[in-house]
């Protein structure tokens, strides 16, 4: 057994794409009920593709428990959301009696929409529960991972840190990132071995350098543009600054991931390293977007051809291809119907295929890059880890499912 373990990813584009396409189709024709099994199967694939020292990870979640958890969450959410939303709506109505002008009328509408905030604590609660469920259903070398109960502690911490980051215009963001990650990491287990997040939150600041540059470009460029009355300068700096901001955001996330991973420790002995690269991730996203755009164009072109052919509005050569010259006058209702059905089928297939492409070209390749960049040191210590008790998890990730967060996997 080697002293260090390098993460490996064995997933392939073809099999995952066909798995996605198949399960998404089943989800569609079962009016969404199959989505719990679809998600389970995709996770089984991705987990099993991830390996360390040749040993694959395993996802032990089931579709059935997700369905049961979802039904459980429905009971809680129906009662909570129904009552809280109506109460907030009512108080929103009473805040302003008579809107005397446009601003007050807008404020009244705004007060009514504040009801949406009622869902925010639930979203955070669901985020923690979903992560806990995924962790509890993950195994490596037959040993379960696990996470302690602590969703409400996470909710109020996340609300507090988020508020602080908001009012300091993002200056406290590293503090939020670090402490929330530490809250979750410190409650995570591998078998009977506990994870620990060490390090300082200030060490995340260098990760914000590209965000800072982007903000400077935006502010200086726009100020100069207005002073010099040059719309070209202002426009260019807004464009450049905006793109830089997006890239800077990705850079921060990757930087934070690397720094936080290096400062993680398992059982006080096993350490980690991570060398994920921003350039690679952005390259993956860009090629993925290009592939999706390309597939969309091909799909629409194909549908257009069928439309022309079946509605008899074809060009001469195309008409000949489909059996003789077709006159615009020979409008054929039957073939028009067939054409509509074919196009409807193609349209659905295109939507499913685009989802699959995004999973295969973007999500899986990013996972692959990140997994491959992680290194575990002092691995022989892992031999002494022992199994932990199973976590029954009555609600699985039902709250996240019901609130539509977390995406396909």
């Amino acid at each position: 057994m080697s002293a260090t373990i390098h993460g490996q990813y064995h997933g392939k584009a073809g099999p995952l794409f066909s798995l996605y396409f198949k399960t998404a189709f089943l989800t569609l024709i079962t009016l969404g009920i199959y989505r719990f099994w679809a998600k389970t199967r995709l996770r089984k694939y991705i987990w099993s593709a991830t390996a360390g020292d040749g040993d694959s990870f395993e996802y032990t979640g089931t579709g059935l428990e997700k369905l049961l958890g979802f039904l459980f969450a429905i009971v809680v959410l129906a009662i909570y959301l129904g009552i809280v939303q109506m109460a907030l709506f009512y108080f929103g109505l009473n805040l302003f009696v008579e809107p005397r002008n446009q601003i007050e009328a807008l404020a009244q509408v705004g007060a009514i929409y504040i009801t949406l905030l009622a869902v925010l604590p639930l979203l955070l609660f669901a985020t923690y529960r979903a992560r806990r469920y995924k962790t509890a259903r993950t195994r490596w070398r037959g040993l379960r991972f696990g996470m302690d109960n602590g969703a409400w502690g996470y909710v109020w911490r996340a609300l507090g840190h988020g508020f602080l980051s908001l009012i300091t215009l993002g200056i406290m963001l590293p503090r939020q990132t670090f402490w929330l990650e530490k809250y979750m990491t410190d409650r995570t287990w591998y078998g009977d071995a506990k994870f620990e997040q060490t390090g300082r939150w200030q060490s995340l600041y260098p990760g914000l350098k590209h965000v800072l540059i982007a903000v400077l470009v935006l502010v200086i460029g726009m100020t100069l543009g207005i002073k010099l009355q040059s719309p070209v300068l202002a426009g260019t700096s807004v464009f450049v600054g905006y793109i830089w901001l997006i890239v800077g955001g990705v850079y921060y996330r990757i930087y934070a991931f690397n720094v936080l991973t290096r400062a993680k420790m398992l059982d006080g002995a096993v350490t980690f390293d991570s060398g994920a690269r921003t350039g690679r991730v952005i390259g993956i996203v860009l090629t993925g977007i290009l592939a999706i755009i390309g597939a969309t164009i091909v799909g629409i072109f194909l549908m257009g051809l069928i439309l022309m052919a079946t509605f008899g509005l074809s060009f001469g050569s195309l008409g000949a291809l489909f059996g003789g010259y077709a006159d615009p006058g020979d409008f054929n209702a039957a073939s028009g119907l067939v054409g509509s059905i074919v196009i409807a089928v193609l349209y659905v297939a295109l939507i499913l295929a685009l989802g699959g492409l995004s999973l295969v070209m973007i999500t899986q390749r990013i996972i692959s890059h990140v997994v491959s960049s992680v290194v575990v040191a002092n691995a022989p210590h892992l031999d002494h880890v022992r199994q932990r008790a199973a976590d029954p998890g009555a609600d699985a990730e039902g709250f996240a499912d019901a609130l539509d967060i977390g995406g396909a996997i």
Binding site: T62, L68, A78, L93, L143
Partner: protein, 393 residues
């Protein structure tokens, strides 16, 4: 680590063994990996695991109990486990894992194990699903049909009248925008004679019955045959409806119906209830292709089931109001007849809200009521009615 091969000799299976191969074994209790030697014993229908660190040095896995993990990314290996009677976090398989990479062994196991891909369902699963499903459906039904309407009813009673009026006015403005009005009040029609006729109409109807709200009745310039009641006594009659009516009594009947909605606080209650149930259906149907359409359809059906009851009540109230004011209900019946006509000619026309009870049935009810009425008096003079109908000109 000692080479397992050397220690194996005593157990090597006498002549019966078909294939031998190495495999990785995890016992599910510790993280220690054992590189076991695997033998497929066909006559005994078992997979034999050999390693000196195993308890007794050997384990027998019955072929019938072997289960492989599903949807695995690596096709060059097989991850095996054993069927279990009970487990919390996996589909009834034991915690031990055996990873086989030897192609021949993988092929033989796949060929010889009948239930390799079978997935066990824990006993009592159907009961659990039905129970949970019943609870979820019960909670939703209880919320949507009992608790939310009851809460909305209470809140509609205790809301301060000032707030209700302010809210109603903003709803009327929204309506105006939907009908195509660009500025507030831009679509509202007014003429001295028309306003006077409308005022007389309202006064006649409310004089005998008495109304809790200060009514604010206005006419909007649009072809739609419709009328609305917003919270706080805000009533809008649309020009299309005034023109479609043949008698002042027909207009009066519609107005009485809308006054009934105001008095019953139907739109206040409806909006409060909608605020509560918004999103509940979205929770259930979730996010999949076509899900939005399903949510919209379910919401529409839910809404029309609520309103049908309110409409029937408003009709009854309107008939009483007409009777108190000595106005014949005949006009109500005639108006429904002409509506039924419009409906049959142009089924696509948004006629007086599709949520209203069947127009023919309503016409019959109004006519039956009219037959029981005593002497009645005309609501408006022909000249006043003409002024009302041309209020937008």
């Amino acid at each position: 680590m000692p080479t397992p091969k050397a220690l194996l000799t005593p157990w090597t299976l006498a002549g019966q063994s078909e294939v031998e191969a190495p495999a990785r074994y995890f016992d599910g209790e510790t993280g220690l990996r054992l590189d076991v030697d695997l033998t497929l014993d066909v006559p005994a229908q078992a997979l034999i695991l050999l390693h000196p660190d195993l308890p007794g040095g050997v384990q027998h896995w019955p072929l019938a109990a072997l289960r492989m993990l599903a949807d695995q990314a690596r096709t060059d290996q097989l991850v095996l486990s054993l069927r279990a009677d009970h487990s919390y976090d996996s589909a009834l398989i034991a915690t031990g894992r055996l990873t086989v990479s030897d192609p021949q062994m993988v092929q033989d196991i796949t060929r010889l194990c009948p239930d390799l891909k079978r997935r066990e369902v824990p006993p009592g699963t159907a009961r659990r699903v039905v129970t949970r499903l019943g609870l979820a459906v019960g909670a939703l039904v209880l919320m949507i049909f009992v608790i939310l309407p009851a809460m909305a009813g209470t809140m509609a009673q205790i809301i301060p009248i000032d707030s209700e009026v302010a809210w109603g006015k903003s709803m009327v403005r929204q309506m105006e925008r939907i009908l195509g009005g660009t500025e507030a009040g831009g679509l509202v029609c007014s003429s001295p004679e028309g306003d006077a006729a409308l005022e007389k109409l309202t006064a006649r109807l409310t004089g005998a019955t008495g109304v809790e709200y200060d009514l604010n009745v206005s006419v909007m310039d649009h072809d739609m045959v419709n009328a609305f009641a917003a919270p706080g006594g805000q009533i809008v009659m649309v020009r299309g409806l005034l023109e479609a009516a043949e008698t002042p009594e027909a207009v009066g009947a519609v107005l009485a119906h809308e006054i009934a909605h105001v008095e019953h606080r139907d739109s206040t209650r409806g909006a409060l209830r909608a605020a509560g149930s918004a999103g509940l259906l979205g929770l259930v149907l979730g996010d999949f292709a076509g899900g939005t359409v399903a949510v919209a359809m379910a919401e529409w059906m839910l809404n029309s089931s609520y309103t049908r009851e309110a409409e029937a009540k408003a009709d009854t109230y309107a008939l009483t109001m007409l009777d108190n004011a000595d106005v014949t209900a005949e006009g109500f019946a005639d108006f429904f007849d002409s509506l039924a006509e419009i409906e049959s000619i142009m089924p696509d026309l948004p006629v007086y809200m599709s949520s209203h009870p069947q127009t023919a049935a309503r016409a019959d009810a109004a006519r039956a009521f009219a037959a029981t009425q005593g002497p009645t008096q005309p609501l408006l003079t022909p000249a006043e009615f003409a002024a009302l109908q041309s209020i937008c000109d």
